[in-house]
Structures are given as structure tokens and as C-alpha cells.
Subunit: 815 residues, 2 copies
């Protein structure tokens, strides 16, 4: 199939290495002058959707042949332009054809049977590879980020490649309390000035902290700009768009992967208010996309590839949170568009493989997959639902506020000159962050360390400030002093609370301007940190309230003196879930991820109450989560599968041409010649044309795509003898009788889609939108009493929806 | 909307209580003579799809009015016949219309706004109620079944309503070992003969055991036959069919609920080889359906109701296994057809509520939701994957064999006279089961007790036979005697193994004839028990192998002498998962349910390996799970969403009429009179007719359903003055000019679906099947160059698929 060449001469010599050059397609695109490529952002090299370039290039060396277009599709026919929507129906039926062929052949020979079996298992093998690769990368990122983060504070004398913890493992003083302090690890002040105390040492450490942070972030943004502009941000909005059936070449390519992996480590280490969770999803999807190239089945089919990408999204969350089930549900709920049950099972498999790979790497040295795994033991009481719901309200409000503020800021960045100074911006924000973060120990530590500390329950021996409770003097009196009962707060705890409150304000503000900069930046950790701080504050407040008022009406009966009735760590966890829920609008997956972090069914109800409240509160201010908001900001053609279409419009209101417009441009099945067809195509910018029996009857025969038509005509003019502008273009099965002196006709039935989707003009738009969503259509024809009236594309629908909600319909940029 | 009455006289007086009489609809059905009701099994009263009867009866008392059919739909129009397929598109757009109306009204008044808010929250309230009710019922069933099961063995002297365990709680001898033995609990032999040992006592207990078993099962089958024939079986196949958009009136009605709850307790207690898990799903769905009647939104819309039922299926599994997440995934993977994300979240909520309700009832007295919750501590080794995969192969083989044997037996029951003797059959099987089960302690105990015992790990103090290991003499030598290292098997264990092997054979055979009898019967527990026995046997074998060959190549390095390297309980669990997977072909949900039972990520890999192997092995013998096989046996029109349509046929090959058949019966939009329409409808058995511009052009205008047409004509003849057989039937918007002496025309545009789905004759069937599945269509029209050619219904597709796989196409019974 691949060895025959049609476009050989035209492309010969242009292309020798067929791996990752997108210019191939760009050249083809330029030659054929596709109108839709006007608004395309600058591409970086990479190989998402390399399929088409590969098809072209692989066919670029064969002998020139005369082939009837009916027998075998032309190369390029059936592929897509960059920044265009795919046709799910076509892709899926292409895969079914392929599968049928393999099944059919397998009855003939043993080799073919073996091929069929290997084909059946290639999906599983691919999943295994994706899991292994993503797990290994995540482990590497964790270790590297840990090391670089510690680098900001000091260096290990045994070898600079040890992080703080590893450095002290080899120390001869392995007492528990002093585990973090060992002579081998020296802060920069100790190294330079020989002392670790005093104003000078503090200033030195402060300075080094800022310098390292600036270096890391400068490196990160420079690398992103130089090698892969697509490596910035969290990547989830784009992945959602790609999974819904959109093409962004290079977005999941190998340059993006390499750059994102390195810059993610740098960005996380720089101390910016961002996390690695979202970008890990992007990294996992890149792995999947690259590994897809090993299997023809996935390389050649956009729909099949998206199944793998859906599973990869699950893998990303699985390694980010150590939550394989939560990851699968995240993929199902948040990112995926087409998620058949087979994918569910495979995603689960890949997510497990990745989790176990990561565990065997053991990046945190605690046999856990995340830094903030917790185990609570105390039960919660029904009365506590009130503060949990309060946290939910906080999370919802914060989520709504954050989305508005962040989108407003990103819009400024996008529309003003600020966008041109991304390096300066990143360096400035990093400097500001480092300057403000260092003095406060809770902002100085990394996001996941902070969350880990806030989630943890205090033990009696705990030396952290957050556990600075007064030791009860009457241990022997009450007999409860040895348990972990609620105790009054001491000085240290009050200091910690003040610091936390300041950290909360700081994080809330800095996150708004950080998310969306030109470095890899995830939103999960900052959101969770904000929620965890708020939750911990409320938790300690509740604890003190309970301690001093244990005889009041609220606490009586379930919280006696000295009992451990309030767990501030649980409040932190609930707060984290609430804030994350408010920002992303995740529901089930969020609760399941949190459930996998705690491992107990017990705490699902508080988590659920907070998440639910948070979602409702946030939805009251705007139904979009942060990812949908960013998708809209970028003008991607994303048809939200969750949102119901509420309007009562009909298909006739949405279709093009509008009443005042000129009639729809159609091709007749045998009444036009090559020149006329070319003129028609030139004069319009439509990406497809209906084929009708005759212009008078407007009786629909089929639909032909602009790209396919242009490629076919172009090819025929070059390859097929006698095809000139006067040649008749024939879309029918049998060539009609032609005058004897006429040039040979150009038969193009092969590229006509004979079963285009049609709806009547009376079809309600809600049904039409449903059809588009469920079947993944690109366009749909509108008829009235079987007379062709117009056409509805996905873009038309999105524009219509934008208009309804008083947004600018021209914000939808792509087809 | 509901107070105006159209059918008042015709139905007046027939109906006073509108609660649960289905005869209403039957009468209407009989009057209108719908042809599809030929093969309908006997109905029992109940109230699934009471909607239509309610509509009719509520309209049966209003004043007679003359209403233009265009303004408001006639009662009955838009509802469905029993044993018919619903139209998802119509239901969903009905709901959207309703929602739009509420949203629109809410801007006008505060009351309407409150109504809108209450409407938005009614879904959550309903879920809460479903969770509470199903959880409470499950708790009641557990307690009652526990009590009745113990009743077979003896009675509590303190009060017959205590079960064995409760009876001994109050005992004064609460030593751990003797917890089960207390003077208050007397076996029947003790009660009657005063002695608990000797042949006489044994025979007495044996006899009483059989007698109680016979009594329980006789009561169960009699109650099912008398009150609700739909209460038999597991119910999952029918629920799958209902959720895919089929109507079975009474299947989820209150009589079914009451009968199923009671008879389930009896059937479980009778000692038959069946479980309560499947029927609990049915019970939860009945609860949901009944509670739907409290909310207009769900009562009146078949699609919305099915969302609630999907959630209820999750609730059922959640209370059956104490696995809320597993339940939601079960519903998603196994039973549901249309599962939007909103439903996912609500299902999860309902499943949690139910789990917590059940936990607060605490039926097992261990604060767990299931009897067989386990916690393992020992890790597993990679080498053990081999026996796990072996268990997977066993599970797959058993699953495939069981499905074939059970379906063959059910077919015999269905087609021969055996089906008429269901009471005798149940009593005979119970007698046989009791007779064979009593002598073997592993078959005598209930299925879940057996599983619990097999899953559990041996502790040193364990007195059960399964832990009859030899005490190691050299405790002080090796220093490991006190741990739970592997030990050599003792006499007691060998006896237990023999008994288990016999129990395995017995269970395998008796389950085949038990499943499908006229009592409520679930398949989860028997399947799991069979797998658990096989797994435990293999586990003990491995343990002994490791003990005696700890220096061999296989065990060297990870299993030193005296170490606890093999956990036979884990093998039992893996075996249980494998067998359940082989029978039901569940994947993710099964692993997650098992994960929730153990609570550790550690054991997911063995479970996954076994489940995957089991599915692959079983699929090699036939791709249908037991539920799909039963659906097919019953001839329900179920379009499997998982199966790919592999054939390359086109729409034109499947559509009716076939080439040799007479042309399609169509109505013209204004060229027929009432008599002609009636004659056309009489002469065919189609459930709908396309409306065309004229018979010559066959240009499609719309589609009208037989039921709607008949109700409208019937109503018009009675209500509308001057409508006689000669009246013209007009489907157009404007009445064409009529001769002055003509009777007034009958305008029926209101019942025409102006946007029927159409495909072209060239559309591949795989795409068509996809459209049917994803949009939930009932029928689809086929056109060629916009000329109407034919029609494809869901039944046609199923018949076509049956034909392809060499099955009898007439096995598809319903529309």
C-alpha cells in the first residue's frame, strides 16, 4: 500500500529523512494554498500528525504510475490540514475497513493470522510502553526537581548531585530529629562565609535563592522559546482540544516532549507558583504520540491515536498523584471526548503500569507515589460538615475569581505588547516570587512539600511549627495527655498561622499571573496549596474552638475534653479538594484522587460535600472551568460535551449560506469541467463542496472535501494524460457519453463521500449539536424536502453558540 | 398542561385510582390493536412506565374541549407501547423543551424561579432518596437472610428472632474461641432430642436443614409466581435492555420490588447456589423507578428516568460489595447505555449515600459493608504471576463453559414442558442442593461465608480447618515460629482440601441448573465461590510447594524457609475475580470492586492479570457474557454498545422493503383521506410511516408513528365535528384548497416528526449502527439522491446481525 508513489516527481528530492520535518506538509499546504492557515501560530518542529507528511514522503520515491483514483486513494487524500478538525466517522470507518481486511486475509495464511494476532495485541503493547515511559519520565522529573529545588538552598559536599535528603542519608548522625541536618549538607552561607547564622548568612542565602530561581526560570523560558513554543503552559486545554478531534501539528512531538521535560524541572525548581501535574499529562501524551509511530494501526488513524492519547492522559494523572483509578476517571471526565469502554480498560492498565514503574523508581524514598500521601485515623463528626461546606464555598469563590482574573490577565498578555516580552515577564515574576517567598518558610518550600506538611496530622514528637501546641501540664490528671487529643495552641502555632495567612494571600495573587506564562506550569499544586492553607487555618480554628468550648451545644456529646475530635490535616485536604474543584470543575475524579491519597472510604463524604459545594458555587459565577476558559481564549473549535445546548433555534438558523448570502457553492455530478471546478474552488474558502445531480434540482449526491479535490486535480493534471481545463469532471459511477472530440474526462467518484450526513431544515439545533458531538462530525448538510439548502460546520455551531451567549463569534478561529 | 382533557369521554369512568393499574394502557392497546403486542409475556401489575397510563387517566376527568392538534400534544401521543423501543432523541429533546420552558418562566416570577431551582436540585434529592432506600433495603435483606440461614440450623432460646451470632452476644461466655457456642443457641437436634452428638442428632439436623430449605424455596417460588413473575432471576439482563431504551412495564414496579425483596431473602436462606448481588441491583432500580414518580421531570421522561436507573445500578453494586467506586464503574461498564457525565457524578453520590446507610445499619456487626472484607499484609512476588494467570485461564474456561451450559439448560426450560413446572423444579433443585450440601461444611455454609473463609489469611490462633497446619516444633531454633511463615499442611488441612475439591465440583454443577430458575438468583456469589475454592486449592498447593522446595530455582531468593511468602487467601481472591470475570466479562469494575475489598493498590496487578487472562480466554470461546447471552435468549432488541460491527454491508442491504417486496407504505402530505390512511395502517404492521410530498416524487417530508396516527384519528373522529372517512388528512402547514362540499380536513402536522433521521443507501452499515447506538434511534430512513427508498429499524439491524453470525433472525422478538 505504501510503496506505490503518486506524487513522486513533485516531491522527490525535497525529503530524505521522513522523521520529524513538518515543512513537508507546509510546502504542500503553501502550494495548494489552503485558506484556513491564516491564523496559525508559529509552529515548532515535532511530529504530531506526522501521518500526512509520512504518507507524502514515503510515496516520494516510488515509480510514477497511472492509477485510477477509484482503486486506491491518492496520498494526501483523506488527511487533514494543520489546525483543522478531523472527521471521526471517516477515521473510524477507515479503521474498520483496515480491520476487516486483516480479518479477511488472516483466513488465508498463517503469517497473516499471526499478523492479525499481533495487530490485536499491539494496543496492549503500546499501553505497556506508554506506562513504562511515562512512569520513568515522571520519576526522573521528580528526582531532578527535588535536587534542583534543594540546590537553591545549599549544596552537598559529598557530591553536588545529591539532594539534601540523600546527602544526609549517608551521614553518621541518623537520629530522627536531626535527619535534615548533617555536616555534609551546607547552605550557601555556610559554604561562602562559614557561618549559618546572622544577618549576613541570611542575606547570602536569600541572594543565592533568588539567583538560582532566576537562572532556572530564565533557562526554562529560553529553552521553551528556542525549541518548542508548545511546551509552555499546562497543556491540558490543548490536549482536550486535540482529543475532541483537532489537529495541532507538533504539539505532541518529540521536541515538545524533550523541552517540556527539561523545562518543567527548571520551572518547578525555580520556586514559581506552579505544579508539575498538568504538564505531566502533556508529557505522557507526548510519549503516547511518539510511541504510536511504532504501530501502523495508530500512526495512520487519527481516531485510534486519540484513544491512546486518552489513556495517556490517565497515565499522566496516575503518576502525578499516584492515583491510577483517579487518573482514568480524570481522563474520562475531564479531557477525553471519545472514550469507548475498551479504552477505559486499557487506560487503567497503562495507568497501573506507570504507577508501578514510578513506585519502583521510588523518587520520594517513602515507597509512595506522591509526597503528600496521608493516613488519618480519627473519625469525623456530622457537625463538621458545616466547616467543610464553608471550605467548599471558599473553593468555589476562589475558583470563579481565579478564572476571571487569570483569563483577564492572559487576554492582556495576548492582545497587548506584553506578549512579546515573555522572557522578561518570566524573569520578573520569578524574581518577585523569590523575593517575597524566601522570608516565609511556607512559601519558600515547594508546593508539594507545603501540601504534605499541611495534610499531615500532628504527632506528639512533631517538631514542626504547625504542631506548636502547648504541652498539657495535667497529663496524669486526665490520663489523656499521652494520646493526641486536642490541645491549646502555643506561640509557635500562632506564628505559623500568621505565616500561613500571609502565604495564602501571596499564593492567591502570584498564581493568577503565573499561570499562562511561557514556561510549563500546572495549576493543580498551587490550587491545592491555597485550599490546604485555608483548610488548615480553619481546622486549627475549629480545634481551638472545640478545645475551649467543649461543653457548648455544638461540641457537647462528641468532643469531650482532651479527645482528638478535630483533625486539622483533614480540613487542609478538604480545602485542597474544594479549591482544585472550583478551578477545574472536576468532580468524581477529584474525589477519587483524594480517596486514593488517603486510602479510606471514611473521608469521601467530607471531600464530596466540599467538592459539590465548590462546583455549585463556582458554576453560579460561570460554567466554564479554567481549561475551557483557556480553550475559548485561544479560539479552538471545541464543542463542550458536558454543556447542554439550551436554545430553541433550528438548523436553518445556523446553516450557511444565510438568507441574504449568495447560494451555496455546489458541484454538479457531471456538468462541470476542470477549469470550472478550479474556478469555483478558487473563488470560495469553503473546505468542502456538496455534489448535486444538477444545479436546478439541487438533489444531493455526495460531498467532496476541498483538500481532496485539489490534490486529485493537481495530481491528475501532472500524471494523467490529456487532462486539461476543458476535461469534464465526472463524479458519477459511469461516464456519461461525451462528444468524440472532447478530452478524456477526469473521474473523481473515489473522493466523493456518498453518505454525507444530512438533517432537515426543521431539525432543532439541540439535536444537531448532539449529532455533531456524539458522532464527531465536521460538517452536516441541510435539506428541505430533499432539496439541498445549506451546510452547517462545527465552526458555524460554535459561532452560533458564541453569539447566543453574547460573545464575539469571531473568537472561534479555526475550522 | 395536564388539566385539559381530550380523551375524556372515551376513558371516563374506566379509571379512578391512577396509581398502578396497567390495564388502562392494555385497554387502550387492545382498542387500538397494536400488532406488536403478540409475543408479550404475561404482565404483572407494577408501575414502570406508568407515565402513559397516568397521562391518560389524569386527562380522563377534564371538560371536553376542541383543541387544534397543533397547539398541544394529545394525551398518549409521544408515549410508547409495552415491549417497544423508545426514541432517545425525542425524549431528550422533550426534556430540553421542558427545561427551556422552566428557564423562560423563571424570569417572570419568583415562584417560577423557586420552581426552577427546585427542579435543578430534584435530581440530587432523588439520588439521596434512592441511596437511602436502597441502603436500608440492603441492610434489611442482609439481616433477614442471616437470620433465616441460621434458622436452618437451630433456634435461639432467648427469642427466635435472634440469629446465631446475636443470640450468643448476650451469652455469659464471651470467650473468643467459643463465641459461636452458647447454651442459648440450640440446634434442632438439641431442641428435639436433647443431644447434639450421635447419628440421631446428625440425622435430625440434616432433616431440619432440608425441610427448612424446601420451605423457603417453596415460599419463594410461590410468591414469585403469584405476585410478580418479573421478580425472578438476577434482573441484570432486563435492566440492561431497559437502560438501552426498551419498555417492560411492571419490571421495576412496586410489586416486583416487594416480592423480590422478600423472595430474595427466602431464596438466599434456602441454601441454593445463588447470591443476592445481582438481585440487589434490580431492587435498587425498582426503588429508583418508584421514587421517580415523586418528580415530574423523571416520571414523564423515559430518557431522564434511565439516567436515574443507571445510577441505581451503581447503588445496587455499591451496597452488594461495599464498593461505591466499583459500583459506578460497573454501571458505566456493564449495564448502562447512555451515561452522561452528570450521571456519573450523581451515581457516585447515590452509591456513597447507600454505602453509608448500609454501614450505619451495620448488618454484619463488623462496621464493614461486606462479609468478606480482607486485609492482606504480605507482598506478592513476580513469580506468582504464573499461578495467577493459571487461575485466569481456569476462570475463563469456566466462564465460557458455564455460559454455554446454562444457556442450553435455559433453552430446554424455555422450549420444553419443563417450563410449566417451575415450582416443582425449584423444590427439586433445592432438595438436591440441601441433600448434597449438608454433609460438607463448605457447601453447608452460605456462599458469602464460604468466600469470607477462603479469602482470610490464617492467623496462628485460627481454629478453622483451613488453617490446620502442623505446628512447627523448632520454634526456638529458627526463631520464626511465632510469625506466620509458611508451614507444612496437617491432617485437618488435607481433609479441608478434599472437602473443598468436592465442594468445587458440586458448586460448578448445581450453579448451572440454579441460575435462571423462577426465584431471585444472583450469579456473583456462586461464581466467586467457585473461583475462590479453586484459588485457595492452588494457593495451598503453591504454599506447600514453596515450603518443601524453598531451595529450588523457582523459590530461591524470595522465599526462604519459614518466611510467609505465599498467601493462599490472595489466591482465593484472584480466583474469585477470574471466575466472575469469565462469566460476566467485567473488567475495570471487577478489579476496582476487588480493590475496594482489599483496600490496597498492591494487589491490583495480580487481580488485573487474572481478569485480563480470564476475559481473553473466555472471549476466545464466544464474545458474549452471561447477561448478553440471556438477553439474546429472551429476544430483546439490545444493540450491544461494545461489539464492533464488522461486516461491510451497506444500508441498502439491510433496509426494508427488500428488493422483491412491495414498495414502502408511505403517506402523502395532502393527498389521502381518513379512510385511505386507516386502510393503509390496517393493511400493514409497520410502527411508523414516512410522509412524502407525493407518491410519484417520493420526496420526504417527515415521519409519523403508527401509535400517534391512530390515537389522533381515533380522537378526531370522536371529538372533532365532521371528520368522516372522506375527510382529507393534511400533514402540511397550510391546508390546500378543497372543493366547497368537502368535509373539513383533519390536520395532523402536529404529530409529524419533521426531522427524521436519514442516511443514503450508500452509507456503510457500520456507520449506521454507530448512529443508532450513539443517538439511540428507533428507525432511520434510507434515501437515494433524495428519493425515499426504505427504512431501517433497530430490529432490522439486529436481525441482520443475527443472520451474519448464523443465528436465527426471528430470535429477535420485539421492536
Amino acid at each position: 500500500m505504501e510503496t506505490s508513489g503518486y506524487l513522486s516527481n513533485s516531491f522527490d528530492g525535497l525529503h530524505s529523512n521522513d522523521e520529524d520535518d513538518d515543512e513537508m506538509v507546509d510546502i504542500a499546504g503553501a502550494t495548494l494554498d489552503f485558506s484556513s492557515s491564516d491564523d496559525v501560530p508559529p509552529l515548532c518542529s515535532g511530529d504530531f500528525d506526522e501521518f500526512s507528511s509520512r504518507r507524502v514522503s514515503m510515496n516520494g520515491h516510488g515509480p510514477s504510475q497511472m492509477v485510477d483514483p477509484l482503486d486506491d486513494p491518492l496520498p494526501g487524500v483523506g488527511t487533514y490540514e494543520d489546525f483543522n478538525t478531523i472527521d471521526w466517522v471517516r477515521e473510524k470507518s477507515k479503521d474498520r475497513d483496515r480491520h476487516r481486511e486483516i480479518t479477511h486475509k488472516s483466513r488465508e495464511s498463517t503469517v497473516a493470522l499471526l499478523l492479525r494476532i499481533s495487530d490485536a495485541f499491539s494496543g496492549w503493547l503500546l499501553m505497556l510502553l506508554v506506562g513504562l515511559m511515562a512512569g520513568a519520565l515522571a520519576g526522573g522529573i521528580d528526582i531532578a526537581a527535588h535536587w534542583l529545588t534543594d540546590m537553591k538552598e545549599g549544596v552537598c559536599l559529598n557530591g553536588f548531585w545529591f539532594n539534601h535528603e540523600h546527602c544526609c542519608w549517608t551521614s553518621s548522625e541518623p537520629t530522627f530529629q536531626e535527619r535534615d541536618r548533617c555536616p555534609q549538607w551546607q547552605s550557601w552561607a555556610e559554604l561562602f562565609s562559614g557561618t549559618s547564622t546572622g544577618a549576613l548568612a541570611y542575606s547570602l542565602n536569600y541572594l543565592m535563592y533568588i539567583l538560582w530561581a532566576l537562572l532556572f526560570s530564565f533557562l526554562a523560558v529560553t529553552l521553551v522559546r528556542a525549541f518548542a513554543p508548545y511546551a509552555c503552559g499546562s497543556g491540558i486545554p490543548e490536549i482536550k482540544t486535540i482529543l475532541s478531534g483537532f489537529i495541532i501539528r507538533g504539539y505532541l512531538g518529540k521536541w515538545t516532549l524533550i523541552t517540556k521535560t527539561i523545562t518543567l524541572v527548571l520551572a518547578v525548581s525555580s520556586g514559581l507558583s506552579l505544579g508539575k501535574e498538568g504538564p505531566l499529562v502533556h508529557v505522557a501524551c507526548c510519549c503516547a504520540n511518539i510511541l504510536c509511530h511504532l504501530f501502523t494501526k495508530y500512526r495512520k488513524n487519527e481516531a485510534k491515536r486519540r484513544e491512546v492519547l486518552s489513556a495517556a492522559a490517565a497515565v499522566g494523572v496516575s503518576v502525578a498523584f499516584g492515583a491510577p483509578i483517579g487518573g482514568v476517571l480524570f481522563s474520562l471526565e475531564e479531557v477525553s471526548y471519545y472514550f469507548p469502554l475498551k479504552t477505559l480498560w486499557r487506560s487503567f492498565f497503562a495507568a497501573l503500569v506507570a504507577a508501578f514503574t514510578l513506585r519502583s523508581i521510588n523518587p520520594f524514598g517513602n515507597s509512595r507515589l506522591v509526597l503528600f500521601y496521608v493516613e488519618f485515623h480519627a473519625p469525623w463528626h456530622l457537625v463538621e460538615l458545616a466547616p467543610f461546606i464553608l471550605l467548599g464555598i471558599f473553593g468555589g469563590l476562589w475558583g470563579a475569581l481565579f478564572i476571571r482574573a487569570n483569563i483577564a490577565w492572559c487576554r492582556i498578555r495576548k492582545t497587548t505588547r506584553l506578549g512579546h516580552y515573555s522572557v522578561v515577564e518570566v524573569v520578573l515574576v520569578t524574581g518577585l516570587t523569590a523575593l517575597l517567598a524566601f522570608p516565609n518558610s511556607y512559601t519558600r518550600m515547594s508546593g508539594s512539600e507545603l501540601i504534605s506538611e499541611l495534610f499531615n496530622d500532628c504527632t506528639l514528637l512533631d517538631s514542626s511549627q504547625l504542631c506548636g501546641y502547648k504541652q498539657l501540664p495535667n497529663i496524669s490528671d486526665t490520663g489523656v495527655g499521652n494520646t493526641l487529643g486536642d490541645r491549646p495552641a502555643g506561640e509557635a502555632l500562632y506564628t505559623a498561622l500568621w505565616q500561613l495567612a500571609l502565604a495564602l494571600l501571596f499564593k492567591m495573587m502570584i498564581t493568577v499571573i503565573t499561570f499562562g506564562m511561557k514556561v510549563p506550569s500546572g495549576l493543580f499544586i498551587p490550587s491545592m496549596a491555597i485550599g490546604a492553607i485555608a483548610g488548615r487555618l480553619l481546622g486549627v480554628a475549629m480545634e481551638q474552638l472545640a478545645y475551649y468550648n467543649h461543653d457548648s451545644l455544638i461540641f457537647k456529646g462528641w468532643c469531650s475534653q482532651g479527645a482528638d475530635c478535630i483533625t486539622p490535616g483533614l480540613y487542609a485536604m478538604v480545602g485542597a479538594a474544594a479549591c482544585l474543584g472550583g478551578v477545574t470543575r472536576m468532580t468524581v475524579s477529584l474525589v477519587v484522587i483524594m480517596f486514593e491519597l488517603t486510602g479510606g472510604l471514611e473521608y469521601i463524604v467530607p471531600l464530596m460535600a466540599a467538592t459539590m459545594t465548590s462546583k455549585w458555587v463556582a458554576d453560579a459565577f460561570g460554567r466554564e472551568g479554567i481549561y475551557e476558559a483557556h480553550i475559548r481564549l485561544n479560539g479552538y473549535p471545541f464543542l463542550e460535551p458536558k454543556e447542554e445546548f439550551e436554545q430553541s433555534s433550528l438548523a436553518v438558523d445556523v446553516m450557511r449560506p444565510r438568507r441574504a448570502d449568495p447560494a451555496l457553492a455546489t458541484l454538479t455530478q457531471d456538468g462541470m469541467n476542470v477549469g470550472e471546478v478550479e474556478a469555483l474552488v478558487e473563488s470560495t474558502h469553503y473546505s468542502g463542496f456538496p455534489v448535486v445531480v444538477s444545479q436546478e434540482s439541487q438533489r444531493l449526491v455526495g460531498f467532496v472535501l476541498r483538500r481532496d479535490l485539489l490534490i486529485s486535480i493537481d495530481n491528475a493534471r501532472k500524471r494523467q494524460e490529456g487532462v486539461v481545463s476543458a476535461s469534464q469532471v465526472v463524479f458519477t459511477e459511469h461516464t456519461p457519453p461525451l462528444p468524440p472530440e472532447a478530452p478524456p474526462p477526469l473521474r473523481l467518484r473515489g473522493i466523493v463521500d456518498l453518505s454525507p450526513f444530512t438533517v432537515t431544515d426543521h431539525t432543532a439545533m439541540d439535536i444537531t449539536v448532539d449529532i455533531f458531538r456524539k458522532l464527531g462530525l465536521r460538517q452536516c448538510l441541510v435539506t428541505h424536502n430533499v432539496r439541498l439548502l445549506g451546510i452547517i460546520t462545527k465552526k458555524d455551531i460554535l459561532k452560533h453558540m458564541a453569539q447566543i451567549s453574547n460573545r464575539d463569534p469571531d473568537s472561534i478561529l479555526f475550522n
